[in-house]
Symmetry: C2
Subunit: 270 residues, 2 copies
Amino acid sequence: MEKIISSPRNQHVTAALRLRDRRGRDQQGRIIVDGARELLRALQGGIEFLEVFYCSEFGDERECDQVIRALARTPTEILTVTPEIIRRVAYGQRTPALVGIATRPTRRLKDLALSANPLVLVLESVEKPGNVGAAIRTADAAGASAVIVADGHTDLFNPNTSRASLGTVFTHPLGEASSQDTGTWLQEHGIKVFAARVDAEQLYTDQDFTGPVAIVLGSEASGLTPLWHAEDVTPIQLPMLGTADSLNVSAAAAVLLYEARRQRSVGEKT
Amino acid sequence: MEKIISSPRNQHVTAALRLRDRRGRDQQGRIIVDGARELLRALQGGIEFLEVFYCSEFGDERECDQVIRALARTPTEILTVTPEIIRRVAYGQRTPALVGIATRPTRRLKDLALSANPLVLVLESVEKPGNVGAAIRTADAAGASAVIVADGHTDLFNPNTSRASLGTVFTHPLGEASSQDTGTWLQEHGIKVFAARVDAEQLYTDQDFTGPVAIVLGSEASGLTPLWHAEDVTPIQLPMLGTADSLNVSAAAAVLLYEARRQRSVGEKT
């Protein structure tokens, strides 16, 4: 008979709980993923789960079945647990049927495979995990080639990031690096760099985004570091016309990436 | 000597606490606003506060002074309270120095003053208060003439809405109405209506947004109601190229409103 884990002192449970802190994730080198949809995206993105907590009393049945079937083709251990345990292990207020543990993926710049005419989004020191996740979701929808998180303040695999990204943090090509290394990498790949800055004079709509291009966005509070004031970086202005005088980073990413998309598709037609 | 409110049973405190629920807000016909920045925006937007809770131990001093000075020119009662009371009255995890109570503003369509060539954003049945707020912030930045919340599921003055809007919910021209009334109003004002739909065939970039235009966005989960399938409504497609296959409503608003902006500014130059 299948054993159902009901003890909060079970070692799988206590190890999983420690993954709720960044320190625990860093120490164990593991990440924790909540919910059927995010697990599916993670599997789709090549993540191999070490173990998955499962409680049949929650979640969307069809989605759960899909995950369980996908996991059956892997060596992942499925741990059946009581409602109390899944509630304890899960993040935030939702209670998902599935919570997975995996080795933290590495996202090195040198592993990024680029298309011939890449469109890259660079996020420098964006503060909130949710904002990083939302910007990755936007980049995914806009068909960006890759997102590079430069000088990331937040853990890329923070549960808030993956939730706000709708799981695209697992499927979208990503790189993590210092701003310095990111600049060098972009240069080496012949990618023209545009940096959104409030003091820029040239409008984003007057730029040519049809070639290999990177768009750099910084923190809402403090903007970009001086590295992105280099001569080969073109500062661009995204006009803010209202009283709040700012756009959320994922909204700014949406405007700039879709403008690049628009220009590129005009090129395709001619 | 100034009396400092320290009792959680004080009637101002208990009345304020009831405003944390939509039911309480509906019953009292009042709203509650947290934090110096949001209070400033509300004052800027013409909101008259009935009373403001104040605790000098929190918040940004300069911003607080600004609010206190602005309130001194109004009949608003300032209630000095202990840290315990402000923590109790305030929303969420932040502890602001100031929490204000005001009569709920009305936002009727017939009170909207339109420019000669309006650009209107319509949000139909958008589920989360935070998404409504983020879309209003985006519309503000994009210089939209007005935002109409049609068949709103959420309370427009929910604290999550005003926070996500960075307070622009108080300054930006807004209307609340049924979808039916919104459609009629747009027609009466000669505003051409574009509705973002996943099944649309025409790209948003192939449309002419230079005249009086409304852009309608629906709920992420269920899309738009059949009202927006009328003959005089042009369905438009915002291409989704990634795996998640969706854009957050404020990111979609950003792309469409800034495309309208771009087209209109091209017109200005010629």
